[in-house]
């Protein structure tokens, strides 16, 4: 193996002592002490550690269906002295777009601030709302830059961005008239524009578009549940936004079930088309619907427990 860089030799030993639980042999060789240095087998350990930070955070889920997008998060209650319902975890980036993240909350706050800046500067330049793919691209680039330099560390968050790009004629900020009555140019006949969009961005800067996305502590079971919904096929076609809200709530409860130790609050937002309940805006799910979704989620969990108990009895 190639010798580690000289500057980190002295500290390499002490590092290995507390990361010994990790089975990977390259850890503790000194290549994990800094960003922007690859290990000889082609890994950036700082980015991988950032992913670990994400894996400790409360579970976040995003569901995309035909009518819109739902974002949900398991907000772990750090203290009983915090006001219930305060300190929101899901943020609005632009009117038609929201973000939820798992991992280090201050990192997430900075991510949100930057995303809002990108959305604003897009509006300044183009006089129109930023499309979700452009926002994801810009933020992906921003995250990636934080893996390149010694002087910074990667973001300790994985973010799920949901948006509904307007299906209407693109509204122009400050427009005065209706434009040409024969319709805007440059549009293909019969092609639909806009629609619900969901992206997940990782600390490395990697981002993909998803039908359903999950991250945080309970991502394994959440992903398993999302896959069952068949969002890519009929599940996504047929699911209404309200059903998606109920599924999101249930998935958060399922994902939490494995770590029953801590109290949590369920926080959910949604974005519909201009014809839907939120009129194209990113908004919190109304309390009545959220309560209903939570009730169903709890009932579903209890149902599962009873089934399990029954199975055991039969055995």
């Amino acid at each position: 193996m190639v010798a580690p860089p000289a500057f980190s030799c002295r500290r390499a030993g002490s590092e290995s002592s507390h990361s010994s639980s990790d089975s990977t042999t390259s850890i503790g060789t000194g290549y994990d002490l800094s960003n922007s240095i690859f290990s000889p087998d082609g890994r950036n350990f700082q980015v991988e550690y950032a992913v670990k930070a994400v894996e400790n955070g409360g579970t976040s889920v995003g569901i995309r269906c035909k009518e819109g997008v739902v974002l949900a998060v398991e907000k772990v209650v750090a203290s009983k002295l915090l006001k219930p319902g305060a300190n929101k975890r899901i943020a609005t980036i632009d009117r038609h777009m929201g973000v939820v993240y798992s991992g280090m909350i201050p990192d997430g706050r900075h991510f949100v601030e930057r995303a809002r800046g990108e959305a604003r500067s897009w509006r300044d330049q183009y006089k129109t709302p930023i499309p979700s793919d452009q926002l994801a691209s810009r933020m992906g680039g921003y995250l990636q830059v934080y893996t390149l330099y010694q002087s910074v560390r990667p973001f300790g968050i994985t973010a799920i961005v949901g948006g509904f790009d307007s299906e209407l004629e693109a509204p122009v900020d400050g427009e005065v008239g209706n434009g040409p009555s024969v319709g805007a140019g440059g549009k293909a006949q019969g092609k639909t524009y806009g629609g619900p969009k969901l992206y997940m961005l990782e600390p490395s800067g990697l981002y993909w578009g998803y039908f359903g996305a999950a991250t945080g502590k309970g991502r394994q079971s959440a992903k398993a549940e999302l896959e069952k919904l068949d969002l890519a096929g009929e599940g996504g076609e047929n699911m209404t936004l309200e059903q998606a809200v109920k599924e999101a709530a249930r998935i958060i409860y399922v994902a939490h079930d494995d770590s029953k130790d801590k109290e949590f609050e369920l926080e959910m937002t949604w974005i519909s088309a201009s014809t839907g309940p939120t009129k194209g805006l990113h908004q919190e799910v109304p309390k009545a619907l959220r309560d209903e979704a939570e009730r169903l989620a709890k009932a579903a969990l209890e149902g599962d427990d009873e089934d399990e108990a029954k199975d055991k009895m039969e055995e």
Binding site: A91, T92, D94, R95, R116, A119, R120, R123, K127, D173, G174, E175, V176, G177, N178, L281, H282, Q283, E284, V285, P286, K287
Partner: protein, 273 residues
């Protein structure tokens, strides 16, 4: 003849004389907008018992030329208020973009629409209401006036105040602001205001008006304005703001016009009396 590239495409000095670039040299004081260019005319509004009606025609004039005939001069703010713009259209665009930015910043922090069970009314605690917007715009107009670079508009703000009572106010390019049961800007202040006052002279009278009465009064005034204001149009926008939200119609046509009175008007144009 001058064949140097920098002279290409320019009027020939030997024929037209040297180019007079003195207007490009700003040696005098800085000059901001001295007068509006493309303008919208009157905006009118009146309160009724459950809300406010506001209207403006769809014309932007370039001097006396009816230049743009599909201009939306009523702008929705945060689904709570309507701002009706009279005066310079480019300043209206600036303000519209500015208010849009403000509305997005509001969306970062605010609670969702909360529908109360009993009356279906939408209550939005903490959302900027029309009274707040009025104050904000007043400070903005006044600050720009103090920079000697005014936003050349007179605007009406229609909506509800913090106690969900109807709210209607006017702000002009100097930051002068006031409220009244009925209001009109521009030519409407002369022609429509007296008619609106017969419908609602006081707040108490406005609180007795029905929605239908208020809408009819406004439509009547729009007709009078079209008859007598030479910078007006028969297509207009009208909005009704109530607790239930905003109903905005942006392409209305003046109905039941009668130009019979025009025959009796003497003393204009080519008439020889």
């Amino acid at each position: 003849m001058d064949h140097r590239p920098q002279a290409w495409g320019r009027p020939r000095d030997d024929i037209y004389g040297a180019y007079d670039g003195t207007y490009l040299n700003h040696n005098g004081p800085k000059q901001a907008t001295q007068s509006p260019v493309v303008t919208g005319t009157s905006v009118i509004g009146i309160k009724f018992k459950d809300g406010v009606v506001i209207a403006a025609d769809n014309l932007a004039s370039y001097g006396s030329l009816a230049r743009f005939t599909d201009v939306k001069r009523l702008r929705v703010f945060l689904d709570t208020s309507i701002v009706g713009f009279g005066g310079d259209v480019s300043d209206m665009q600036f303000l519209d973009r500015h208010l849009n930015e403000l509305a997005i910043e509001e969306a970062y922090e605010t609670e969702p629409l909360a529908t109360t069970a009993e009356d279906g009314a939408v209550s939005r605690p903490g959302v900027l209401n029309a009274a707040n917007l009025h104050k904000y715009l007043q400070r903005l107009f006044y600050a720009r006036r103090n920079k000697f670079d005014p936003l050349w508009n007179q605007v009406l703000v229609a909506g509800l105040d913090a106690a969900s009572r109807p709210f209607l106010s006017s702000i002009d390019l100097r930051g002068t602001a006031f409220t009244s049961p009925s209001l009109a800007t521009g030519f409407g202040a002369m022609l429509a205001q007296p008619i609106l006052r017969t419908h609602a002279p006081t707040e108490e009278d406005a609180a007795k008006l029905t929605r239908e009465q208020a809408v009819n009064a406004v439509k009547e005034c729009m007709k009078v304005l079209y008859y007598r204001d030479a910078r007006s149009l028969d297509r207009y926008s009208i909005a009704v703001v109530t607790k239930e939200g905003i109903e905005l119609k942006e392409d209305e046509q003046l109905e039941k016009q009668s130009w019979a009175f025009a025959e009796r008007i003497k003393g204009y144009g080519t008439q020889t009396v």
